[in-house]
Symmetry: C2
Subunit: 342 residues, 2 copies
């Protein structure tokens, strides 16, 4: 782990410039980014994720009303770096992290393999703008949202291979069907703008991906997830990723606003902590992004494990009472629901 | 996961019999076990781990003074089963679990590979008496102990391959050098009875095994760890395992008695929870026993993940103040100490 700098926000004097919307100066020199973004997808993606990080963090700060994000810009010795924005102990959010990484240089094949479903023979230079995030509230009635969007580019001898991946998913602790419908409908509308097949395909992919095999249950109520996206062409795939990223706040903010003042009991809080234990199990045992991070030399462990909850709990053979609110959400986690048809 | 039965202890009327020392009736029929234990190591090991489970659980109940162990005997559909003894919310112990499994039948090669360092071509029938345990106190001044001892026997065509493995290690939250010395000296004395080379070798193995690579630190202050033990012969190797298992209580009980009434602050408790987060990271990312369990069809997930703490915590970029008590233990976790020479 290389040294990193800590800024406090806001850091820009000129509020009129595009850069003022960012949470920090970009990892790549801004003038270079602007120039290269005309032709180069790496630069386009980096600018876009900087913009999204700013938009999301500022909205969450407003929603929370108390806490601001702490901003850590860090460099990776082997190439690239990241901007980690984290909020702890807010009034609404127990922990919110919005992380960007732009990783260059040689990655070990085992790490690259974690990021890809297709089988390509990969080596040589790699570049990976990566935008990942997890946000959780202290109130058990406010679900946790997680999303990450990434662009991967690999030069293999003379051929450039690239793809996009990403997804947005929701982890409620108590079932509110209206919230699930709103969340899925917002993501479906984003998908439908680009292809009538995307939502169904990426919803199913999400249910399969966030499945905790050893528990026989999903981490949450799903959303969308995709990888290896290279069609119909680079610009259209990028536009799709942009639409998805722009749908994050509309899918989530109304749910937070609806529930952030809900009252809750200590027993409900304990149930939330048990479910956060499951979240930890998924992230450490199965999540490809986490494994990618743990296998990438010089990666910044605090940014990778930012997605772990502040508190988690394990209780031997905990089984909610039949017909309880806890049993209701468990049932949905064991059998994914079609929230659009519902 | 197959059905399991719950007993409450004590379950035996005839307190004079050997079986009365166990926590439950054995997995294998007792008369069969007694008969086969004359010649068969699987039966010998099963009887021994039953005896140890009884000895350890009853001592811990006495130490705690409030809680008794809950006893779950469960069967594995594919062959074998286990006896899980767990104590939650005691006066001294926040969570104590003493688990036995006796697993028969075909194991997937990936699962067997997790239990073994040597490279053998393994298939066919497997049998594995396995005795695993983790005990943690709520008081941050009482360390967590973990141990597991196992016998593995594989029939490969006509050849029987067998080996022993195991270890005992300590995870303190605050450094007490006297405790570390006592713990290591007790384990060294056990090793020295069998070979002058064992302690040094198995202490180093333990330091290497319980290393959390992505954090650059050990899970605790070590102890002993070994695998693939088949020398000098089966009976002598078994005697060594017995000596090690018999050393568990003497290595740990005096430390618990010394600290169980120590006062502590909320800040010390929070530090303990952060360290328990590291414990979770080790167990889910690296521990071969956990991976073995997660990969073994029909394994009982609640018994495998029994070693996870009741509560754990993660805090972004938490760094103890230099020279603080928290920094002192971290230093030892980053550079293993020779507690015998010390």
């Amino acid at each position: 782990i290389s040294a990193y700098l800590t800024f406090s926000s806001p850091i820009f004097a000129d509020s009129k410039s595009e850069i003022a919307k960012f949470m920090s100066v970009p990892l790549t020199d801004y003038e270079t980014l602007k120039k290269e973004s005309k032709n180069d997808m790496k630069a386009k993606m980096e600018l876009f994720i900087m913009e999204m990080q700013g938009e999301i963090c500022r909205k969450l700060e407003k929603l929370d009303g108390k806490q601001n994000f702490q901003i850590d810009k860090w460099n990776r010795k082997e190439g690239g770096g990241g901007i980690t924005c984290i909020m702890n102990g807010g009034d609404v959010f127990e922990k919110a992290g919005v992380n960007i990484s732009v990783v260059h240089g040689d990655l070990p094949p085992a790490a690259v393999a974690q990021m890809k479903s297709r089988g390509h023979d990969l080596n040589a230079d790699k570049s990976l703008p990566f935008f990942a995030c997890g946000i959780s509230s202290k109130n058990p009635h406010v679900p946790t949202i997680h999303f990450n969007y990434r662009y991967f580019e690999v030069k293999n001898e003379d051929k450039k291979i690239w793809w996009f991946g990403g997804g947005t998913d929701l982890t409620p602790y108590y079932l509110n069907e209206e919230d699930c419908k709103h969340f899925h409908k917002t993501l479906k509308a984003a998908c439908d703008k680009h292809s009538p097949t995307y939502y169904e395909k990426f919803k199913k992919w999400c249910d399969n991906y966030f499945f905790i095999k050893h528990r026989g249950e999903s981490r949450g109520v799903g959303g969308i997830f995709f990888d290896d996206l290279e069609s119909p062409n680079q610009n259209e795939a990028f536009k799709f990723v942009q639409t998805c990223a722009k749908a994050i706040l509309p899918s989530y903010v109304p749910i937070v606003e609806k529930h952030k003042s809900d009252s809750y009991t200590q027993a409900e809080r304990e149930w939330q902590l048990l479910r956060r234990g499951r979240y930890v199990e998924f992230n450490l045992v199965y999540d490809r992004g986490t494994k990618f991070g743990l296998m990438t030399p010089g990666s910044r462990i605090e940014s990778i494990l930012m997605s772990l909850p502040t508190y988690a709990k394990w209780e031997y053979c905990h089984n909610p009472k039949p017909e309880s609110n806890e049993a209701k959400i468990l049932k949905v986690l064991k059998e994914p629901v079609d929230w659009i048809k519902q």
